[in-house]
């Protein structure tokens, strides 16, 4: 049976659908609560929408821990472009509402299979920076800090990176500060640093999907999104991308997937369209 591909979809929807296909039945994922606005879409909306789609299709038993909430009702996510109210959060339907530090313990316990991260800088070995731009002691820009991003890449089994602005300033040769370690200097340097989890799995950007080379651990172009060329992706990347010849086009979402996303997963358009 041939697939009927959607004719009309946004780049966020494309990223969401492809991410959904990477989530496996029975896994546990973690994503923070987010803070509203565009950062919400980036860090939280895309992963939550992907989880919703996966749960409706191939992975009904994928469990998402969203901040303090275990498998919350995604169609009623208490977020908007402006702010997340306390009342909205407290009233959110979910299987469990656990103390904020319990998810930290889930990471330590090894219960988190997939951690979703995003940040100001990602480098060619998948190291992530959300702490400072420039010299640590004399920062050009002081960013937000650390939060729980470190644990997403040190303790979760697979780190999934979301990059909504695939630009040279975000994809850099070397991060200014390793908030969360990817493959450090490549090859076996991650294991040598004492890390026992596999590390970053894939990068979903607004231009391409990228993975990591098995041996060198360098970021590697897997597919480019429809309408984007390999040259454009390379020109927007601050380091030489690995790829073998011509990278194939990212598979488009099907009409059914877009229908599910818009009508079942995110009917209010909160997760992928910056709020109502």
């Amino acid at each position: 049976m041939s697939k009927e591909y959607a004719k009309d979809y946004t780049i966020e929807e494309l990223m969401t659908v492809r991410l959904a296909h990477e989530l496996r039945d029975g896994e546990v994922g973690f994503v923070g609560m987010g803070t509203g606005g565009r950062a919400f879409t980036l860090a939280v909306g895309i992963p939550l929408a992907a989880v919703g789609l996966a749960q409706l299709t191939h992975a009904p038993d994928f469990i998402i821990q969203s901040g303090s909430f275990t498998n919350p009702k995604l169609t009623e996510v208490p977020a908007s472009k402006y702010f997340i109210t306390d009342r909205g959060v407290i009233d959110w339907k979910a299987e469990a509402f656990i103390p904020v530090y319990h998810p930290f313990e889930l990471f330590k316990r090894g219960k988190i299979d997939v951690g979703f991260v995003s940040g100001a800088q990602v480098d060619k070995y998948g190291n992530l920076n959300i702490t400072v731009i420039g010299d640590y002691h004399k920062p050009k820009v002081r960013l937000i800090g650390t939060l729980l991003q470190t644990e997403h890449l040190t303790l979760a089994r697979r780190g999934v990176m979301i990059i909504i602005d695939h630009e040279k300033r975000n994809l850099v040769e070397r991060v200014d500060y390793v908030t969360a370690p990817g493959f450090l200097e490549g090859y076996d340097s991650r294991e040598k640093a004492g890390l026992t989890t596999p590390g970053p799995w894939k990068v979903f950007s607004n231009k391409a999907i990228l993975g990591f080379d098995a041996k060198t651990k360098r970021m590697r172009l897997e597919t480019v999104h429809p309408g984007v060329t390999v040259e454009e992706v390379q020109a927007s990347t601050g380091f030489d991308l690995m790829f073998s010849g011509k990278a194939p086009e990212t598979e488009r979402p099907t009409a059914e997937e877009i229908n599910l996303l818009r009508n079942k997963v995110d009917p209010r358009g909160v997760l992928l369209r910056e709020g109502p």
Binding site: S68, Y82, I90, Y101, K108, A193
Partner: protein, 294 residues
């Protein structure tokens, strides 16, 4: 006790921890009193900090912050904090959220350190020299030792307390703030500001809401809307208009000084502050129906 008296527990050079996260349930009334008192050289110990730390930094009272985050969530980065760190006026000592809470756990247990496996490969131990590598005596495995956090004073804002210092939390509350009581158990002294003082009988009838029994608590202060402009669970929402005004004012030292004059130094007391931010008309709009014991 009056807020002026409770705030005296915080002295020049104290280390201090606060309830809440970014722009939720911070003990803002007590923080404003600290600014009025002008206590200096504070060290803020935290795990997820926001407006309370940004205000103290903007008032020039902080020398060091040990945390994972200082920010105003949807209102952006914390402007005073960011400027002070970029200028080298405030030292930021980095931990993750999880490592920060572990430090308070060690403080609570009166251990000198807590082991963690969270930080391998990150630059956190590289730049934070207070984190050391240790070896498990049983298995030879490597860990990082995190120094215990024992605040001289922890200040919480909570929903209810009796005059003995038994602190009741509304059943319907944000579990996002649930680390508050760990910060209190670790501290030498604890100040709790509450929305309402309730009778001892109320406590006896609702012991399951008591997350911080009286032996942890040194001072209780009744301060309705004491978290304003941050939110307080099912009692009231954050004041978005005021937070926008704050974030804008904090962008330069001059405008922030005017903010402090208008909202901290000039109001005679907490009730006068509540008038300055719009009074009962504004506050009633922020109120949430259904908080409390009902």
């Amino acid at each position: 006790m009056p807020i002026e008296e409770a705030a005296k527990l915080v002295k020049d050079g104290s280390s201090i921890a606060f309830s809440g996260i970014h722009i939720r349930r911070h003990p803002m009334a007590l923080v404003r009193q600290l600014v009025k008192n002008g206590v200096k050289n504070l060290t803020v110990l935290g795990w997820n900090n926001g407006m309370e730390t940004d205000m103290l930094v903007g008032a020039g009272l902080v020398k060091r912050v040990e945390s994972s985050y200082v920010g105003l969530a949807m209102f952006g980065l914390a402007p005073n904090f960011r400027r002070a760190v970029e200028r080298g006026e405030v030292e930021m000592v980095e931990y993750t959220e999880s490592a920060s809470v572990d430090r308070f756990r060690a403080g609570w247990y009166r251990l000198t350190f807590f082991p963690t496996k969270d930080l391998f490969g990150s630059d956190i131990p590289k730049y934070n020299k207070n984190i050391r590598e240790i070896t498990c005596p049983f298995t030879g495995r490597k860990y990082h030792a995190l120094p215990a956090a024992v605040p001289d004073v922890t200040v919480l804002h909570a929903h209810m307390a009796d005059r003995y210092g038994n602190v009741l939390y509304d059943q319907r509350r944000l579990m996002e703030n649930e680390a508050d009581t760990i910060l209190a158990r670790a501290a030498e002294r604890v100040i709790v500001t509450v929305e309402e003082i309730v009778s001892h009988d109320t406590v006896l009838s609702h012991p399951y809401l008591n997350l911080l029994p009286r032996y942890f608590v040194d001072a209780v202060v009744e301060v309705p809307f004491g978290a304003h402009p941050t939110s307080c669970d099912y009692r009231y929402e954050l004041d978005a208009d005021h937070l926008r005004l704050y974030a804008e004012a904090a962008r330069s030292p001059d405008t922030f000084k005017k903010y402090l004059d208008r909202y901290v130094y000039e109001p005679r007391d907490h009730f006068d502050y509540l008038e300055a931010v719009g009074g009962i008309g504004v506050l009633m709009k922020l109120r949430t129906e259904g908080g409390g014991l009902a």
